[in-house]
Amino acid sequence: MARELSARVISATVKELFLKATVLLPQDMEEAIRAHQGQGGLEGYVMASILKNSEIAREENIPLCQDTGAAIVFVQLGQDVHIVDGFIGEAIQQGVREAYGEGFLRKSICNPLSRKNTSDNTPTFIHYDVVAGDSLTITAMPKGGGAENASLIEMLTPAEGIEGIKKLVINHLRKVGRNACPPLTVGIGIGATLESVGVLAKKALLLPLKAINPDPTLAHLEAELLVAINNLGFGAGGYGGWVSAFGVHILTMPCHIACLPVAINIQCHAARHLEVQL
C-alpha cells in the first residue's frame, strides 16, 4: 500500500530544517564543548566563545556562522511513499529557496567559472537513497566552504593499505586542519568508487559524535586517528592547543581490486545538521 505525501509538506519541512540547523548547535557538539571548557588560555577562551555564540544564536534567532553554507540534503525515500502535489526535487529546492530568502541566510552559491551568484542559494545538493517502508527521512546539512575546502578525495593503491590511510589523514590534517574552524569532526570514507567515497565521508559526519564504530578494527583506527589529530596541536580555534578534533568517523564499502579510494570530509565546530522523519 502506497502512502501519500504532499510535496508541499516536503517543501515546508526542508525550509524549517534549514532555518533551525543554521541557528541551533547540535546537542552532542554543545556537550563536547562544555566538557572541555575548563581549558585555560586562548583555547579555553575559544571554547567559551563557542558556547556564548550558541546561546546568542538560539535566543536571538541569528545564524551560528555567517557562512550558512551550501545546502546539502540527504533523502531516504521509502519505496511505498507516493508523492503528490508536485515533484520531490523541486519541493526541496523551493524549501531551500524560502529558508535562505525569508530567513536572511547568506546566499553563497555561484557559477564555478563566472562566479556569478545564483541569488537564492540553490541548487541544493541532494543525495537520494530508496529504502524499504513508507516513510521519508530528510536530513539538512548547511555546509560551510572553509571546512569543505579542507576536504579531499585520494585514490590510494591497495599496497598503501591502512598505513597509507593513516599517513594521508594525518599529513592532510597537519596542513589544513587549523584553518577549518576546529575542534573538528572528521568523516572518512574508505572504499567504493570515486563518486561514492565522497558521499560515504559526508554521511560519516551525520553520525552521533560519540558513536563507536561497530567494526572493532575501524573503532581502533578512529581512536588512533583522533589521538594523532589532537597531537598535531593546532587546537580549538586553530591558534594552538590540544583539542583539535572531537571525533573521527569512518564508513567503508567494498572496492575494486585495483583501488583504495579514501575521502576525508572535514566538519567545523558548528557541525550543523538536522534530520526529520515524515
Binding site: Y45, E60, Q66, T68, F104, L105, N117, G146, C181, G238
Partner: protein, 178 residues
C-alpha cells in the same frame, strides 16, 4: 582573558599597530572594510591596470568577511572571518600598492605574505571562526561601499567596537606559536 588587553583604533595613521606582538590579544575599534575572494580579484585587476580602487586603503584594515544579510528590521546579520589563506595570492601587491596596514581573518598565511607583512610593516589579526552571532555584538553598523553587484561578496564598511582579536603575525613578521 580580555582584561588588561591593549585597545587599538583603525585606521593606523600613527602606526599604533606596530607595538603589538604576535600572541597578544587586542580589542579593535573603528571602521574596517569587509572584502573577500571576488572583491580581491577586482582589486588586483584594478592594480594591474593602474586604475584607482573604489576606496582608499591607505592605513586601513580589511576584514575577510561576508555577513548574512541585514534583516528587514535593520538588524545586522551574523558576521565572522573566512579563511585568510585564499587571499594570500592578492595580499603582497595590495600591501605594497595601496598602503593597506591591517588584515583580519582566520587561520595562517603563506611565507610570502608573512614576508610582505614585515616589509610593509603591516599586521595580521585572527578572529575565531564560526562564532558569528557573538561577533555581531561588536558591530555597530554595516554599509555597502563598493562592488554592490557582487551581492554576498560586495565590499562593506563595518564599524567595530572592542572586537577581540589575536595577533597572528605582527609588523616584525613574528608569528604566533613560532
Amino acid at each position: 582573558m580580555l582584561q588588561g588587553c591593549q585597545s587599538i583604533r583603525t585606521p593606523f595613521r600613527d602606526n599604533e599597530h606596530r607595538s603589538l606582538r604576535a600572541g597578544e590579544i587586542v580589542l579593535l575599534s573603528g571602521f574596517v572594510y569587509c572584502a573577500r575572494d571576488a572583491a580581491h580579484l577586482r582589486f588586483q585587476e584594478a592594480i594591474q591596470k593602474e586604475e584607482k580602487l573604489p576606496l582608499n586603503l591607505s592605513d586601513e584594515t580589511i576584514f575577510y568577511a561576508a555577513p548574512t544579510p541585514t534583516r528587514a528590521d535593520g538588524s545586522i546579520g551574523a558576521i565572522g572571518p573566512t579563511t585568510s589563506s585564499r587571499m594570500d595570492t592578492f595580499t603582497p601587491a595590495l600591501l605594497k600598492q595601496t598602503g593597506l596596514k591591517g588584515m583580519i581573518g582566520k587561520g595562517f598565511r603563506s611565507e610570502v605574505v608573512r614576508d610582505a607583512i614585515f616589509s610593509n610593516r603591516a599586521i595580521y589579526l585572527g578572529a575565531i571562526g564560526g562564532v558569528a552571532a557573538l561577533i555581531r555584538k561588536y558591530v555597530l553598523s554595516v554599509r555597502t561601499v563598493a562592488y554592490a553587484d557582487l551581492s554576498a561578496e560586495a565590499v562593506l564598511c563595518v564599524e567595530l567596537v572592542d572586537f577581540p582579536l589575536v595577533v597572528v603575525i605582527d609588523s616584525l613578521g613574528n608569528q604566533i606559536g613560532a
